[in-house]
Homo-oligomer: 414 residues x 2
């Protein structure tokens, strides 16, 4: 008998018909003899409906009260699924965040889980109950309801899986797994059978939306195997996300990602003195703007060019910050490009195989795509290109590393 | 500085526009310097919407889970009102049943309040906060959410008023007070300035829907003054409900009520033996049917006729029970009338004034209305008449006891 955590996202419980289908699936898992914890999101659209009401009543809804409001979405889903499971004859009990003592800090809307007390959950499971848990919510030490951030029902599921030492955490969604690339852009993209935590983290951080970043981090920390799977198909085998193993090293590139919402700012001829970066990026961080890639080219004359990317939506505000300090740091000029794209390849195989970056550059050169910035990590290479070449670059890299004839490529090109 | 509990019903918070209006009213009360506790119902229609979803998923939704579901209605209202009050600049904090330790038994859907721990509430008020409390909900000793029954946000308000020793509990609704009769039936009905708990209990029990019966009982037990008032009008002075005083005794009849949903069953020629009533009404109570009036006429021959009323919707089931025991108790026959109405007059003045019942009978006789059953209590006289005369009887009694020239009537007719 295993303990399995299943998480169903908003589209998976988006209607009463969908809730019936989820109940059937949960029931079958229970009937196989396993202990089942189900974590549910709010019905699709419900969180936005609630937030819209709050926005109609206040320009800046109080965060504590907004959490009281939006947490009802998951509460409704949990109750409805429990009602359905009971009507099918399965002993079932629902739990809210405070009932399972999912204790968080007090950062309403983006709270961090501090502890989970699974005593009541284990008692329910030992009594033969299916436990249905409202995702996304916790409780702070004062007993106030908190929420964990958008998409954080995944986090609830992984935290419960870790705390209960579940054998697997199954994430049910509306796609049938993690893909080598976004199928909407790259028709040749295919589902991955297996992917490591590290690769999944890079993929999630780089814009693949299947799994929430923090939930993957938590799964890695507690070594909780994840399976991402479609709730809309009985056949979906899904993608297994877990610890890296030897077989994964043979796969050079697990996926290609594309982020089309970046822009680029370059400060030229800056006096290269200690503390320069802090003086540039301090004010930008202070304005709440997330800087992604940063490249510095030191010149021979003690002057340097500094280039960095920010989300396109933040470009105007970032430029305001930069202009206000440009004189102070002695910059010769400020250039910006508002339409750039970041294309990345991710794979743990890079740790043990040389030449992957070089292959990437050759593939892009062969397509006539100019590379504007490069950043590398142990298992990732990212390049910034003009936005109009973003999709072309993604498809070319997918063909080269993940297409049908891809296996022979590294040697030939490298 | 007084502590005031205000309760707003479903139509009073039925839209975002209404919530804005309620926030203005609450804010003005706070600005007068009083400590304010606000209890809110679910937005009008929300509870039914939630229950309909449950009904679509199950023929008999699990009561524990149904409470988890429907309690979200009040949670949403409380959060929205708190968000609005905060955006108007009033420090405000919302509380759910479990956060205020509104502890109940475990009868889901009809739980009874056992205790209220007001420590956190008092702390919030002392800190200068307006407290907005989700009505209708509590928590059982296991930490499960319970609900107190339809209309029970009144009960939450009265319980909190009692526990905090509030100076008044204001019940805001869509009518501007308690009326001498239902204005839809009796155009001459007028708002009462004052009414005693006992009268209000009889009126509520007899079908006047302004206040929930249990909340009036609780208010009387803890001597919490109630004011019933409209949230839709600034001018509404409302009706004060409180302890009986001398001035009330001068008012012979406070109100006339009409219940048009009754039916009547008569068992004729029953052998009048000890335990007869138990053998008749035990099975009916066992079937969950509430018997209202019971009349027994003992005959000289040791045989008796037994007549009683049940809600019309339960008539068929009541007859089934009666037929199954008719032989056993030796009844000569069973008669029933499915369309009867109960008309009642209520007033504490009856305690000290004789002849009220006689006046009532004369008024009805003058209208040609035949009285089929009579039941009296210390402050109430009820008669059962053919349903088609119900409204006529009500209007005639209202004219006689509460009309413009009513004061002279008792002596003249009595």
């Amino acid at each position: 008998m295993a303990l399995i955590v299943q998480k169903y996202g908003g589209t998976s419980v988006g209607s009463l018909e969908r809730i019936r289908a989820v109940a059937e699936r949960v029931g079958r898992a229970r009937a196989r003899g396993d202990q089942i914890v189900v974590v549910v999101s709010a019905m699709a659209g419900e969180t936005n409906r609630l937030l819209q009401m709050a926005a109609d009543l206040s320009d800046a809804p109080d965060p504590r009260e907004a959490d009281v409001l939006v947490s009802t979405g998951e509460q409704v889903s949990a109750a409805l699924l429990a009602i359905r499971l009971r009507s099918l004859g399965y002993p079932t009990i629902s739990f809210l965040g405070h009932q399972l003592k999912i204790t968080t800090d007090s950062r309403h809307g983006a709270a961090k889980i501090k502890a989970v007390d699974c005593e009541r959950l284990h008692r329910a499971l030992s009594d033969g109950h299916i436990a249905v848990v409202a995702g996304f919510q916790g409780v702070n030490p004062d007993g106030d309801i908190t929420t964990l951030g958008r998409g954080a029902s995944d986090l609830t599921a992984v935290a419960l899986a870790a705390a209960t030492h579940a054998s697997v955490c199954e994430i049910y969604t509306d796609v049938d797994g993690v893909y080598t690339a976004d199928p909407n852009i790259c028709p040749q993209a295919r589902r991955l059978d297996r992917i490591s935590y590290d690769e999944m983290l890079e993929m999630a951080g780089l814009g693949a939306k299947v799994l929430q970043l923090r939930s993957v981090e938590l799964a890695r920390r507690f070594n909780v195997p994840l399976v991402v799977r479609s709730s809309f198909s009985e056949e979906s085998r899904g993608t297994w996300v877990g610890e890296e193993d030897k077989s994964m090293e043979n796969v050079l590139v697990a996926g290609v990602t594309l982020d089309q919402n970046q822009s680029k700012i370059t400060l030229t001829g800056v006096a290269d003195r200690p503390g320069l970066a802090a003086r540039i990026f301090g004010p930008i961080a202070g304005a709440g703007i997330v800087v992604d890639m940063i490249i510095q080219n030191a010149g021979a004359d003690g002057r340097t060019d500094m280039t960095f990317t920010v989300p396109r939506a933040d470009l105007r505000r970032a430029l305001e910050q930069i202009r206000s300090i440009a004189g102070e740091i002695g910059a010769a000029g400020i250039r910006h490009e508002d339409q750039v794209a970041k294309v990345s390849i991710v794979g743990v195989g890079m740790r043990t195989h040389a030449g992957v970056a070089a292959t990437m550059f050759k593939v892009l050169a062969a397509e006539g795509v100019n590379i504007e910035m490069i950043a590398t990590s142990e298992i990732k290479v990212s390049v910034v290109v003009n936005a109009k070449y973003g999709e072309l670059a993604m498809r070319a890299l997918h063909d080269a590393f993940l297409g049908d004839g891809a296996h022979a490529l590294p040697e030939e090109l490298g």
